[in-house]
C-alpha cells in the first residue's frame, strides 16, 4: 500500500489509461501513472510509425469535416470529386509531415500518401453508403473529466448530430479491433467510451461508436441507445437488449459506479501486484517493476 493521494484536484498522467491500468493491476497504475515511469522510445526517424499513421488520419478527417460539414455535402460529391478532395487534402497533410521527418525517402512518402488516399477513400465511401443523415458538429474537441478527486483532459475525436438533434460520439481507431463487449458488458475493461459517455457532460447522446480505419477493413461499431430508425451503420441497438443491465440507463449507472470505484481505489494508494491473467500485462511498460519472478517464487514457497 502506498500513501493515499491527497489534495482536491489530482491531475493524472495517462488519462483514462491510468484507470484501465489500475483495473488490470493496481501496481501498474502506481508505477506508470503516479510515479511517471514509462519506457521511452527513441523517435524512429527513417520510417513511419503506427502512431504517425494514426495522427495523420485524425488530422485528415478533422480537416475534411471542417471543410465539408455534413452528410449531404458528402452525398453530393461524385466518386471523382470525392477522390480529388481526398487527394488534395492528403497532399497538404503529407507536406507538413514531410517537413517533420527529413530522413524519409521520397519513395516512402509516395507509398504512404497512396496508403492514406486509399484508406481515406474507403472510410468516406463507407460513411457515404452506410450512414443516415448527419452533420459533424465537433472535431478533436477537448473535455475536462472529473472522477472523484481525479481530473484529466480528453479529446473527443468527433461528434455528429442526427436529424432528430441527438448526438453520436465517434472515436477513430487505426489499430487492432477489440470486442465492444469490453465496454458494454460488465465488468468493463475498456474505459474510454464509458468515460466519454458518463463524465464529459455532453448532452443528448443517442449513440457512440468506434470507427475502425485500417486497410483490412473500415467500419463503425458501438451502441445505439434508443433504437433509432434507421440504425446508424453497424451500431448495436441496445434498446433491444433482453437483459436489464444491457439497457442504456442501467449501463450509464453501472459505468458510473465502476469507474468511480476504480478512481477511489487509485486515490487510496492501493498498489498491490495483483491481476487476473498474466497475459493482460503483455503491453505493460513497467512490467520489470512488478517483480513477477519473485512473486512466482514466493507463491511456490509460501506455506499453504
Amino acid at each position: 500500500m502506498a500513501p493515499e493521494i491527497l489534495g482536491s484536484e489530482i491531475s493524472v498522467s495517462g488519462g483514462f489509461r491510468s484507470l484501465e491500468n489500475y483495473y488490470i493491476c493496481p501496481a501498474w497504475a502506481f508505477y506508470e501513472n503516479r510515479l511517471h515511469a514509462s519506457s521511452f522510445h527513441e523517435d524512429i526517424q527513417d520510417e513511419i510509425s503506427k502512431m504517425d499513421r494514426g495522427n495523420l488520419i485524425h488530422e485528415f478527417l478533422e480537416t475534411f469535416w471542417k471543410e465539408h460539414k455534413n452528410s449531404t455535402n458528402l452525398a453530393k460529391m461524385s466518386e471523382k470529386e470525392l477522390q480529388q478532395n481526398i487527394d488534395t487534402l492528403i497532399n497538404q497533410v503529407m507536406l507538413t509531415f514531410k517537413g517533420s521527418k527529413p530522413y524519409l525517402t521520397p519513395r516512402q512518402i509516395q507509398l504512404e500518401s497512396n496508403y492514406f488516399k486509399n484508406i481515406a477513400y474507403q472510410w468516406l465511401s463507407f460513411e457515404k453508403k452506410n450512414r443516415p443523415s448527419f452533420k459533424v458538429i465537433e472535431s478533436e474537441e477537448k473535455y475536462k473529466i472529473n472522477i472523484d478527486r481525479i481530473t484529466f483532459n480528453v479529446k473527443v475525436d468527433r461528434i455528429d448530430e442526427y436529424e432528430d438533434g441527438s448526438r453520436l460520439l465517434i472515436d477513430y481507431k487505426t489499430g487492432n479491433e477489440e470486442s465492444i463487449s469490453k465496454w458494454t458488458k460488465p465488468p468493463i475493461s475498456s474505459l474510454q467510451m464509458p468515460i466519454y459517455l458518463t463524465f464529459t457532460g455532453i448532452n443528448n447522446i443517442s449513440a457512440a461508436g468506434i470507427g475502425y480505419i485500417h486497410s483490412r477493413n473500415v467500419k463503425l461499431v458501438g451502441l445505439s441507445m434508443y433504437g433509432q430508425d434507421p440504425i446508424d451503420a453497424k451500431l448495436k441497438d441496445c434498446s433491444l437488449s433482453k437483459k436489464d443491465e444491457g439497457q442504456w440507463p442501467n449501463l450509464i449507472n453501472s459505468w458510473h459506479k465502476d469507474i468511480y470505484e476504480l478512481a477511489s481505489g487509485y486515490l487510496s494508494g492501493k498498489a498491490s501486484v495483483t491481476f487476473k491473467k498474466e497475459n493482460d500485462l503483455k503491453y505493460c511498460a513497467v512490467k520489470p517493476l512488478l517483480r513477477l519472478a519473485e512473486r512466482q517464487f514466493q507463491r511456490e514457497n509460501s506455506d499453504e
Binding site: 500500500m1 502506498a2 500513501p3 498522467s13 502506481f30 508505477y31 503516479r34 510515479l35 511517471h36 515511469a37 514509462s38 519506457s39 521511452f40 527513417d46 520510417e47 513511419i48 503506427k50 525517402t105 519513395r107 516512402q108 509516395q110 507509398l111 497512396n114 496508403y115 486509399n118 484508406i119 486497410s215 483490412r216 494508494g269 498498489a271 498491490s272 501486484v273 495483483t274 487476473k276 491473467k277 511498460a285 513497467v286 520489470p288 517493476l289 517483480r291 513477477l292 519472478a293 519473485e294 512473486r295 512466482q296 517464487f297 514466493q298 507463491r299 511456490e300 514457497n301 509460501s302 499453504e304
Partner: protein, 1055 residues
C-alpha cells in the same frame, strides 16, 4: 559371443550386414532399436580397414548428438563383445603408427562444422577468410531489410497488394531471409521467367484439382455419387455437372457446408428443399449421405480447394515483383556478411557448396576421406543434401569408399527447421545417393520398451500413421517393431490414458485441475514403487507451468531442463535492470527498479516521495537532491545512501573497462550475491555477462540484441535428490529413455505461428516449386491460403510423429494425460491441433464442474536486512579505496599497467570458466583492440601491447607452467577478498590465485613484464613483501608455497 542363434534378435542378420565397410547403406531404425549403437559398431569395423582414422567422418545435426555419438563409439570400444574387432583395430593402429589417443580424435562433428572446415580449405573463393559464424544473425537480416525497404522499386507494386502494413511486411521479410535456402532457386526462376509464371501455376492447379477429383470419387463411390446427382437435379433441373469435374464437388460443398466451414445439420426451403413429399425424400437422402463415416473430414478438406478464379496471386506482376525484391534482399545480405565478417549457418553450407563445385577442394577431400556416416538422416534439409552429394561425388564405383545413413522417418520432428523427411524416403526408394548405390535396410527389434507398449504401438497407434508414405501430405507409414528378449522381461503396465472432462471452458481451472491430477498420479506411482524413474515430456514449455508451480510449492524434488524462461528468475532480471540503469540515467523504469530491488528495497512510500512530483527530473538527479531525499524515512535514507555511494564511486569506470567487469563490480558492491535465493543463480548471472559480451561493443551495449538473446535463454533447474522427477520438451528428450513417461496437456494446442510472406509447394518430386504470396488479408482464399492449408496438414501429420517420439521414450509405463471441454451442445471434441485429436475418442477418467478462482496472491517486499546492511555499508566504505587500487580500477596512466590489468581480468575469466583461448582470441581481439584505441594510446604502443596480451593468454596453453596455472585446482579461491586487520585498519587483500595442491597451499600473483631480457628470478624477489602479507592470512596447517607467474613468458617462479 556365446549367445545361441535363438537368443539373438530376429533382425541380427541385417545388423551384421550393415557394418560391412565395403557397401553403402541406408538404415531405417525405429525407436529403441539401437540406431546409434549400429552406427558406432560400423565405425569400429571401418577402423579395421582404413589407413588413417581421419578417413572416417561421422556427421550429426546438433552438437549434443555429435557428443552422444562419440560417447557411444567409445562405449562400444570398451564392449567385451567387440573384442575381436578391437584387437584388429589395435593391430592396425600399431601398423600405421596412429596417435595414442586416436579414439578421442575421431572426426565426429555437426554438418555445419564440416561445411565450415571445407570452406577454410579455399578461404579466398568462399570469401570466408576471417569470417565468423554468428549465433544471432537476426540483426543483420534486420539491417538488410530496413535498408532495402527504404527505397525499392518493387514496393509501389507490392505495397497495396500486401495491405500497406509496413511493420508486418518487414517482419515477414526478415523471416524469409532466415529460410532463404528454401526459395532461393525458385526465386531466380520466377525472376528470370516472368512470362512462364501464369502457365506454370495453372498447370500446378490443374494437377491438384485432378488429385482432388480422384480422391473424392474414391471416397464417395458410385452409389453415393448417383444419390448426390439426383438431389442436385431435384434442386436444379438444369444440373449437368459430372463427378469428373471439380465443379460438381464444389457445388455439393456449397450445399452442405456453411460459409464458416461447418457441415449443415438442417435443410429447409432456404437450401431448396420444399416441405412436401418429394422435398422430404431428397432431404432424407442427403442426411443419409452426411451420416457416412468420416465424411466431415473430407468435406473440411474440400473447403481448402481453391477455385481457379480465386488464384488472384497468379497475377504474374505481383509474384514477379516479390521475386525481384527477395533476390535483391539476398544480394544485400551477402554484402552485409562481407562487410561485417560474419555469416549465418545457411551461408556456411552455401559457401561449402561453392567451394566444392568450383575448386579442387573436392578432389583433395576425396583423397583423404573414404567413409561418411550420418546419424538422424530424417532431419536433413535440401541444402545439406546438396552439400553431401557434392562431397561424395567421386565415391561411386570405388570399393574403398562408403556412405552410411541411419535414421527413422517416424521420428522426423524438425519440420519447423525445414528438415525434409522426403529426402529419406526418396533415398529409400531409389537406393541411390547421387551416383552411389545404396542398400536400404530396416531394423525391427525394439530393445527399449516392454511388450505392452510395443503391442499398443503396433496395434493401435499404427493407425494414426499413413498406410503408405504420402509426401505431399507429409504422411509417413508405420513400420512395426517387435520385441526382444530384454523387453519380454520388462515390467510395467504400458500405455494408459487419463482424460479429464470439464463442463465449461475455463482455461485457468482446466490447467490447475490437470496439474493437480498429474501430481497425484506422480505421487501414486512413487508410492507403488519408490525409485521409479519418472519423466514429464511436454510439447510446449508453457504446458508445464502450472504443474511445476504446484510441485515446487510442495518441495517435491524436480529437475527441469531448459524449461523455465529466464523471465522467471528475479536475480537475472535484477541485474538486467541494474545494467540498464547504469547505462541510461534517464531510464526511470530501471532506476525505480534498482531502488526497489533487494539490495536497496525502498518501500512504496519512499518511492512515492521521490518520484510522484518530480516528473521531468532524471532519477539520478532526484536521488541527488538533498531537499527531496530528506523527506524519506530514516530507513529509506540509509538504503538510498548505500546505493548512491556505490554507484557514484564506480560510475567513472563505465566504458573504460569491459562492461562485464564494470557491472559485476557494482553488483558485488551492492551485495548482489547476498540477494540471491538459489545457488544456481550465480551461474545465471555469469551467463548474463556472457550475453552482455555478445551484445556489446567497447563503447556501448546493444540492449535490443541483449534482450533478444535473453528471450531465447532457458534455464536449467538441478536437484540434489538422486531421483528427481525430470521435465523436458519432447524435442529435447529425443534419444533418451526412461522407466515411466508422463505426457501432459494432450488437449492443448501450441501457439499459432505467424503467417509467412510466401509459401511454396512442389509440382513433382523435382525441385519445381510453385510460389504463392500472402496478401495479408482475410478475404477470399487464394493460392497462398491453399498452400498454407496443405502445410498445416503436413504439420498435423508431424504431430503424430512427435507424440510417437514421446511415447517411445518409455521403457515400462506411459501415462497420457489431457483435458477436454464440453461445447455448448454438450458434445466433446478435442481441439484440432491437439495430441488428443490424434487419439480421439477416449474414455473419460474424471469430470469437473466447479470453476476455480484465479488466486489473488499478494507478494511481499524482499530486501536485505537493514542491520546487516548497515554493517556492510560501514566495512564497504572503509575498504573500498584499497580495493580500487588493488583490483577494480584499471589504471590507464600508462599502457603497461593498463595491459596488465586487462590480462588479470581475462585470466580470471578464462580460468574460472575454463574457456578455450583460441576461440576467445578469435572473438575478442578486435574488441580488445578497440578498448586500447579508446584510451588514446599510440598505434605502435597498442600493437606491442596486443602482442603481450596475446602471448600472455596463449602461455596458458603453450607453456608447461601455464597449463598448470590454467587447470582448476582444489579449493580455488580466485574471487575471495580477505579482510585483514593491519595496524587496526581493515584492508582487503586479494591474491590473484590461491589453491591447494598435494597438501600445499599455493599463493600466486600474476605479473606482466613486457621486457623479455629481464631476469625473472630477480624480478620475482621484488614482490616478496606483498606475498608475505598474503601468507599471514592463512594459518590452517597447510604448507605454504608462494610464487609469481610471469604471464607473457609463461613461467612460474617460486619464492
Amino acid at each position: 559371443m556365446n549367445k545361441s542363434i535363438g537368443k539373438q534378435p530376429i533382425d541380427q542378420k541385417t545388423r551384421e550386414e550393415v557394418i560391412n565397410p565395403e557397401s553403402s547403406f541406408l538404415v531405417q531404425a525405429p525407436a529403441g532399436s539401437g540406431k546409434t549403437t549400429t552406427l558406432a559398431r560400423r565405425i569400429l569395423h571401418l577402423l579395421t580397414v582404413v589407413e588413417d582414422p581421419k578417413e572416417i567422418i561421422a556427421i550429426s545435426f546438433t552438437n549434443k548428438a555429435a557428443a552422444e555419438m562419440h560417447e557411444k563409439v567409445l562405449e562400444q570400444y570398451d564392449e567385451p563383445e567387440n573384442g575381436e574387432v578391437i584387437k584388429k583395430i589395435e593391430a592396425r593402429a600399431r601398423e600405421h603408427k596412429w596417435d595414442d589417443g586416436f579414439m578421442n580424435l575421431l572426426e565426429i562433428m555437426t554438418i555445419d562444422s564440416l561445411a565450415s572446415k571445407i570452406t577454410h580449405q579455399a578461404p579466398l573463393l568462399s570469401k570466408s577468410l576471417f569470417m565468423n559464424i554468428t549465433e544471432d544473425p537476426h540483426e543483420i537480416y534486420e539491417t538488410v531489410v530496413n535498408e532495402t525497404m527504404k527505397d525499392n522499386e518493387q514496393l509501389a507494386n507490392l505495397f497495396p497488394f500486401l495491405n500497406y502494413d509496413y511493420q508486418k511486411i518487414k517482419k515477414q521479410l526478415i523471416a524469409e531471409l532466415e529460410i532463404r535456402d528454401q526459395w532461393k532457386d525458385d526465386i531466380y526462376y520466377y525472376k528470370n521467367n516472368p512470362t512462364k509464371i501464369e502457365d506454370k501455376t495453372k498447370k500446378y492447379y490443374a494437377k491438384e484439382i485432378k488429385d482432388w477429383v480422384i480422391r473424392l470419387r474414391g471416397f464417395f463411390k458410385k452409389d453415393l455419387i448417383e444419390d448426390i446427382k439426383s438431389i442436385q437435379s431435384y434442386l436444379n433441373p438444369n444440373f449437368s455437372e459430372q463427378e469428373s469435374s471439380i465443379d460438381f464437388w464444389l457445388i455439393f460443398r456449397d450445399l452442405v457446408m456453411t460459409k464458416d466451414g461447418k457441415v449443415r445439420k438442417r435443410f429447409g426451403p432456404n437450401e431448396g428443399f420444399i416441405k412436401n413429399k418429394e422435398g422430404i425424400f431428397y432431404k432424407k437422402n442427403l442426411l443419409k449421405i452426411l451420416n457416412y463415416p468420416n465424411i466431415n473430414n473430407i468435406l473440411k478438406d474440400l473447403n481448402n480447394v481453391i477455385y481457379e478464379k480465386n488464384i488472384t496471386d497468379i497475377i504474374p506482376t505481383k509474384i514477379h515483383s516479390i521475386a525481384i525484391l527477395l533476390s535483391e534482399l539476398e544480394l544485400n545480405l551477402q554484402e552485409q556478411f562481407m562487410l561485417r565478417g560474419e555469416l549465418d549457418y545457411t551461408q556456411v553450407v552455401e559457401n561449402a557448396i561453392v567451394t566444392l563445385s568450383e575448386t579442387d577442394v573436392a578432389i583433395l577431400f576425396d583423397d583423404k576421406v573414404s567413409h561418411i556416416l550420418i546419424d538422424e538422416f530424417q532431419d536433413i534439409n535440401k541444402l545439406q543434401e546438396k552439400f553431401l552429394k557434392l562431397l561424395t561425388d567421386n565415391f561411386s564405383g570405388n570399393p574403398g569408399k562408403s556412405f552410411f545413413a541411419v535414421g527413422d522417418p517416424m521420428q522426423s520432428i524438425y519440420r519447423f527447421r525445414k528438415a525434409e523427411v522426403e529426402i529419406f524416403n526418396t533415398l529409400q526408394k531409389t537406393e541411390k545417393f547421387g551416383d552411389i548405390r545404396i542398400k536400404a535396410c530396416k531394423l525391427e527389434v525394439n530393445f527399449r520398451s516392454n511388450r505392452k507398449i510395443i503391442k499398443w504401438l503396433n496395434d493401435v497407434y499404427k493407425h494414426a500413421f499413413g498406410e503408405i508414405n504420402d509426401m505431399n501430405k507429409g504422411l509417413i507409414s508405420y513400420h512395426s517393431s517387435c520385441e526382444s528378449l530384454e523387453t519380454v522381461k520388462k515390467k510395467g503396465d504400458g500405455v494408459k490414458f487419463h482424460i479429464l472432462k470439464n463442463k465449461k471452458k475455463h482455461i485457468y481451472t482446466e490447467q490447475q485441475k490437470e496439474a493437480q491430477y498429474i501430481f497425484q498420479t506422480i505421487l501414486k506411482i512413487r508410492e507403488a514403487k519408490k525409485d521409479t524413474e519418472i519423466v514429464v515430456l511436454a510439447r510446449n514449455r508453457s504446458h508445464l507451468r502450472a504443474l511445476l508451480t504446484l510441485m515446487r510449492r510442495d518441495d517435491f524434488p524436480i529437475e527441469a531442463t531448459e524449461i523455465d524462461s529466464i523471465e522467471y528468475n528475479q536475480s537475472f532480471q535484477d541485474i538486467l535492470c541494474l545494467t540498464k540503469a547504469l547505462y541510461n540515467f534517464n531510464d526511470r523504469v530501471s532506476w525505480i527498479g534498482i531502488l526497489r530491488a533487494p539490495w536497496c528495497g525502498l518501500k512504496l512510500e519512499d518511492l512515492t516521495c521521490l518520484f510522484e512530483t518530480n516528473e521531468s527530473e532524471t532519477p539520478w538527479s532526484i536521488i541527488n537532491t538533498p531537499s527531496i531525499v530528506k523527506h524519506l524515512t530514516n530507513d529509506g535514507q540509509n538504503r538510498l545512501a548505500f546505493l548512491k555511494n556505490v554507484i557514484s564511486k564506480s560510475i567513472q569506470f563505465r566504458g573504460r573497462v569491459a562492461h562485464r567487469f564494470f557491472i559485476e563490480s557494482i553488483w558485488r558492491q551492492l551485495l548482489g550475491q547476498k540477494t540471491i535465493v538459489d545457488t544456481d543463480d550465480i551461474e545465471r548471472i555469469d551467463k548474463f555477462f556472457d550475453l552482455v559480451d555478445q551484445s556489446s561493443s567497447p563503447l556501448s551495449i546493444d540492449f535490443e540484441r541483449l534482450e533478444r538473446l535473453i528471450e531465447d535463454l532457458k534455464t536449467n533447474n538441478k536437484s540434489t535428490d538422486p531421483n528427481p522427477v525430470r521435465f523436458f520438451t519432447i524435442h529435447k528428450a529425443k534419444g533418451d529413455q526412461f522407466e515411466c513417461v508422463i505426457i501432459p496437456g494432450l488437449g492443448r494446442v501450441p501457439k499459432a505461428d505467424d503467417h509467412s510472406l510466401i509459401a511454396k509447394d512442389n509440382i513433382d518430386n523435382k525441385d519445381n516449386g510453385i510460389l504463392s504470396l500472402n496478401n495479408n488479408r482475410d478475404d477470399e482464399p487464394n493460392l497462398y491460403d491453399y498452400h498454407r492449408s496443405k502445410e498445416l496438414i503436413r504439420r498435423n501429420n508431424e504431430n503424430i510423429r512427435l507424440l510417437y517420439v514421446a511415447i517411445t521414450r518409455a521403457k515400462e509405463d506411459c501415462h497420457l494425460i489431457g483435458s477436454v471441454t464440453e461445447n455448448s451442445k454438450g458434445e466433446l471434441s478435442p481441439p484440432k491441433d491437439s495430441f488428443l485429436n490424434i487419439l480421439w475418442p477416449q474414455d473419460i477418467t474424471l469430470e469437473y464442474e466447479e470453476v476455480l478462482d484465479n488466486e489473488e496472491f499478494v507478494p511481499k517486499l524482499r530486501r536485505l536486512k537493514s542491520k546487516d546492511f548497515d554493517r556492510e555499508l560501514e566495512i564497504n566504505t572503509q575498504i573500498s579505496s584499497i580495493k580500487d587500487i588493488e583490483k577494480k580500477k584499471i589504471s590507464k596512466d600508462n599502457i603497461y599497467t593498463f595491459t596488465g590489468s586487462l590480462i588479470h581480468n581475462y585470466y580470471e575469466l578464462i580460468i574460472k570458466k575454463q574457456l578455450d583461448i583460441n576461440t576467445l582470441l578469435s572473438k575478442k581481439l578486435s574488441y580488445i583492440y578497440d578498448i586500447f584505441v579508446k584510451q588514446k594510446f599510440s598505434k605502435s604502443e597498442i600493437s606491442s601491447a596486443i602482442k603481450v596480451l596475446k602471448d600472455s593468454l596463449l602461455s596458458l596453453q603453450n607453456s608447461k607452467d601455464g597449463q598448470w596455472i590454467y587447470r582448476l585446482h582444489e579449493d580455488e579461491g580466485m574471487e575471495v577478498n580477505y579482510l585483514h586487520k593491519i595496524n587496526d585498519e581493515i584492508k582487503s587483500l586479494i591474491p590473484d590465485r590461491i589453491f591447494i595442491e598435494d597438501g600445499t597451499r599455493w599463493i600466486i600473483d600474476y605479473k606482466t613484464v613486457f621486457d623479455d631480457k629481464l631476469d625473472l628470478e630477480i624480478e620475482a624477489k621484488t614482490h616478496i613483501e606483498q606475498l608475505q602479507i598474503y601468507e599471514s592470512l592463512f594459518d590452517d596447517g597447510y604448507l605454504i608455497q608462494k610464487a609469481i607467474y610471469f604471464v607473457k613468458q609463461g613461467k612460474l617462479v617460486l619464492i
